[in-house]
């Protein structure tokens, strides 16, 4: 959090949004200063995009301000023009900025080898290639063309998948397409639990 806060303040400083009180029209001694967060919402400094909250399924609208300088989020709040939430957000919705600007987000793919006691960082390309080989090996080993009754089943009983309601519609559709083309039948996700 502290790093993030510093980042923000740094951004604020470079964007010259730390404003003397006079700038806010408080008409007082120029020695007193405060960060004018609102100045960062100016189109000079940030772009606005609309999005929908990622938590519960009320579907509240959000406005995201993204710094033009480094493409990082600088403010996320409710969309007043959204007819469901009319600008309102709960504690989770109000914290979405921190979901994105968060030191705990990993900076690479992690791989744990069999029997290892730790993760190691690997490249995405390496991981995807290795996963693809794993999928193929398992699928080829466990693929069932016909069941005990001799009926055609064309399925892979050796791989299961769970997830996800956290994906967009287009991703959900693509994921089910991928899984079913591989022959998976053990396909489940949050809707089941």
């Amino acid at each position: 959090m502290h790093t993030n806060r510093r980042n923000f303040l740094k951004l604020s400083a470079t964007a010259a949004v730390a404003t003397a009180f006079g700038g806010l029209g408080l008409g007082c001694t120029p020695k007193a200063t405060m960060v004018d967060h609102a100045a960062a919402l100016d189109p000079k400094w940030s772009k606005q995009t609309t999005t929908i909250c990622c938590y519960c399924a009320v579907g509240c609208g959000l406005i995201v301000n993204t710094s033009l300088k480094d493409n990082k989020a600088i403010n996320v709040e409710g969309d007043p023009d959204h007819p469901i939430n009319e600008g309102a957000l709960c504690a989770k919705g109000a914290s979405i900025w921190q979901l994105a600007e968060n030191d705990r987000r990993p900076d690479s793919v992690l791989y744990r080898a069999p029997y290892s006691s730790k993760f190691k960082k690997v490249s995405l390309a390496w991981a995807l290639e290795k996963i693809a080989h794993n999928v193929k090996k398992t699928r080829d080993e466990t693929f069932t063309l016909t069941n005990k009754k001799g009926q055609t089943v064309n399925r892979c009983d050796g791989i299961a998948s769970v997830g996800s309601a956290a994906l967009d519609n287009e991703e959900c559709w693509a994921l089910q397409t991928m899984l079913r083309s591989l022959g998976l039948v053990y396909i489940e996700h949050q809707a089941r639990i």
Binding site: T19, L26, C28, M34, H37, A88
Partner: protein, 241 residues
């Protein structure tokens, strides 16, 4: 036109959107907390927590009430904390909005506790990192460009309201009449003296000892409610010209 918050506690669901929206807007860090047998956390206002939803359970005649109190600076009409100021400019009292704003010059104050001691609502705190005395600033940066304070903007149920003082007092009185149908003891707290007017559904003490200035005078000084109200008539320092 001067501004006022009207906070209708009969409609607060304690979603705590306001508590987070305040931190989000100001990018205030979190405190390290533990569960202490309550959902209220942090336990108290602090140098990094300027808005806090307090939770309290009251049961009378088998009827349970779970009371929620989003606490913040009241932006008094005539702020007693101005008396605690010794460094010019450490408190700004904005004439346009009525906002009472503490500046970074509070870092230079010698007796920082005096701010809290002077407050009938026990609000000001000291930020340990900067040494500044801090509290809600009415999101003055937002208000000056026509936006609602972050906490009001995020409130889903109409508990938090903000606007021109006359409009808010009208709304408060309308809501009071409606609330009294369900809650006969509903009342507005210190409406004439502050810019954050709470509508309570039961006695203010049941929410929190410092919800009303009256309650605070019983618990701690330096000003009794009588003194506080009397002071309103006396000449005070106005830093904003």
């Amino acid at each position: 036109m001067s501004k006022t918050f009207f906070i209708d506690l009969t409609k607060c669901t304690a979603c705590r959107g306001c508590q987070v929206a305040c931190k989000q807007w100001k990018k205030l860090p979190a405190e390290k907390t533990e569960n202490w047998g309550s959902h209220q956390n942090p336990k108290d206002l602090s140098g990094v927590t300027l808005k806090l939803v307090r939770f309290n359970e009251v049961e009378e005649d088998g009827k349970m009430q779970w009371l929620f109190f989003p606490e913040q600076c009241r932006h008094c009409i005539d702020p007693p904390c101005l008396d605690a100021m010794t460094v010019p400019g450490s408190i700004m009292h904005d004439q346009e909005t009525g906002a009472v704003v503490y500046t970074d010059l509070t870092m230079k104050e010698k007796d920082k506790e005096a701010f809290r001691d002077s407050c009938p609502y026990d609000i000001p705190r000291i930020n340990a990192e900067t040494g500044a005395v801090v509290k809600c600033d009415m999101c003055i940066d937002r208000v000056k460009i026509g936006l609602l304070p972050a906490c009001v903007k995020t409130c889903p149920t109409g508990a938090m309201n903000f606007g021109d003082r006359d409009d808010m007092l009208t709304l408060a009185n309308e809501r009071l009449v409606k609330a009294q149908k369900k809650f006969p003891n509903a009342e507005l707290i210190d409406a004439d003296d502050v810019r954050v007017v709470y509508l309570v559904q039961t006695d203010a003490d049941s929410y929190y000892q410092f919800l009303s200035a009256d309650a605070s005078s019983i618990q701690k000084g330096p000003l009794s409610r009588k003194q506080f109200l009397a002071k309103l008539g006396s000449p005070i320092k106005r830093m904003s010209s």
